[in-house]
Symmetry: C2
Subunit: 243 residues, 2 copies
């Protein structure tokens, strides 16, 4: 059981605080400038609420779960405790990494047990502690190097943000033709489901995969937006070049 100070009160902080509390750790304090969010969170996990970082309590360590661009400043103000942050991309000296590889949204609850946690620290004793803590809340804990984390975060942008942009484009195309986005939802679910057990390259289907240049030409003719034409051509060409 660890005594933890949690800094931040956003989606990641909420999910982490609850899971750590449920796993038997003690959240001593929730520190955040957002009083409403933070005091509600503190109450839920039986912690004190504080808005002044200068009044941080003595704990085993602190987790900084704030926006990427605020991490360095927050970490620099914590002198008494080992510090870990939850970001996939930020590097801060003397700060360990406790990175849950997932997209967290307000109001959408998640089974943290299935969320991979990537841990790294230059301080090997602290790294060991963080791995134990990660294992207490997740079944999927990975020790990774700094360079690996940066690549992982980049890959996550393709797998999550860019994928979501493909959904956005698809929805816009449907709406412009008075079609219901509901029609594509089972396809989207199955496309994601397929790669849980199959290599994505092997799971590929569609006109570019079967080198059906006629359909590709027809599709490009249907598109009016130059950006969409560029996206269509670029990704189709990538698939055409494969294998």
């Amino acid at each position: 059981m660890q005594k933890i100070v949690l800094i931040g009160s956003g989606n990641v902080a909420h999910h982490l605080a609850q899971a750590l509390y449920d796993a038997g750790h003690q959240i001593l304090q929730v520190i955040s400038k957002n009083k409403a969010n933070a005091s509600a969170l503190a109450q839920k996990v039986n912690a004190d609420f504080e808005s002044d970082l200068g009044k941080i309590k003595r704990a085993d360590f602190a987790i900084v779960a704030v926006n990427d661009d605020a991490i360095a400043e927050v970490a620099s103000k914590i002198k008494k405790l080992p510090v870990a942050h939850t970001s996939g991309s930020v590097s801060v000296e003397n700060t360990a990494v406790f990175y849950p590889v997932q997209t967290f949204s307000k109001g959408i609850s998640l089974e943290l047990k299935e969320v991979p946690f990537c841990v790294s620290s230059q301080d090997k004793a602290f790294e060991k502690t963080l791995i134990q803590v990660a294992k207490s809340i997740s079944n999927k804990v990975f020790k990774i190097k700094e360079k690996q984390r940066k690549v992982l975060h980049l890959a996550a942008v393709f797998a999550c943000n860019f994928t979501n942009q493909m959904y956005t484009i698809a929805e816009q195309l449907l709406v412009e033709s008075a079609l219901d986005f509901e029609i594509l939802k089972p396809l989207i679910a199955e496309t994601a489901n397929k790669i849980q057990a199959n290599d994505p390259q092997n799971a590929q289907t569609g006109p570019a995969k079967r080198k059906d240049l006629q359909t590709i030409t027809n599709h490009i003719a249907l598109l009016e937006d130059k950006d969409l034409i560029d996206v269509y051509k670029l990704i189709s060409n990538q698939i055409l070049k494969q294998e």
Copy 2:
């Protein structure tokens, strides 16, 4: 209950035959040049097997579930029956459309009840029959126009094939850095899951969404493949421009 001749013995033909049979329709014949696949399928749904289109039986209608580039030729050889094909993109004169919007793979079974079927025909009586048949195997049946079907198929390429290409890129990046693709699977599942109940544009997260140009610059610096740099820039710019 309809008497149906099924032409083809691939993934779509297999899924359709089984569902139609289970719904109480009679599959009179499975016609295909692929003897092994087709005779196995015919046996499963208590149908006759035939390889010669000239020997097609009198039925209520025929469903052509063959590769896109073979549909026109097959349909032209069927003179005695109304014909529908299962393609999202092909248009053949005097041929109706019975298009299941899903990605079918060998060995992956699917709940057809949840697969949207898009139906259209110039023959309104036949269209009505097809809608009834679609409703007997699926809860999600849509009557669509020709132009709508083409846009829908284009949108499906973005939502399925291009999304799968994003997974492929993500996996390649991980493999090059000795990371396990397993780390991204929960994120991929949750990204697809989120848009089942949320508008994809609202569900967007990540560096481009929060206009974090520093992270975007760092990511581009990590990429070595020119194609991937182009994809990264193009899609990020699209997200940056939104709202």
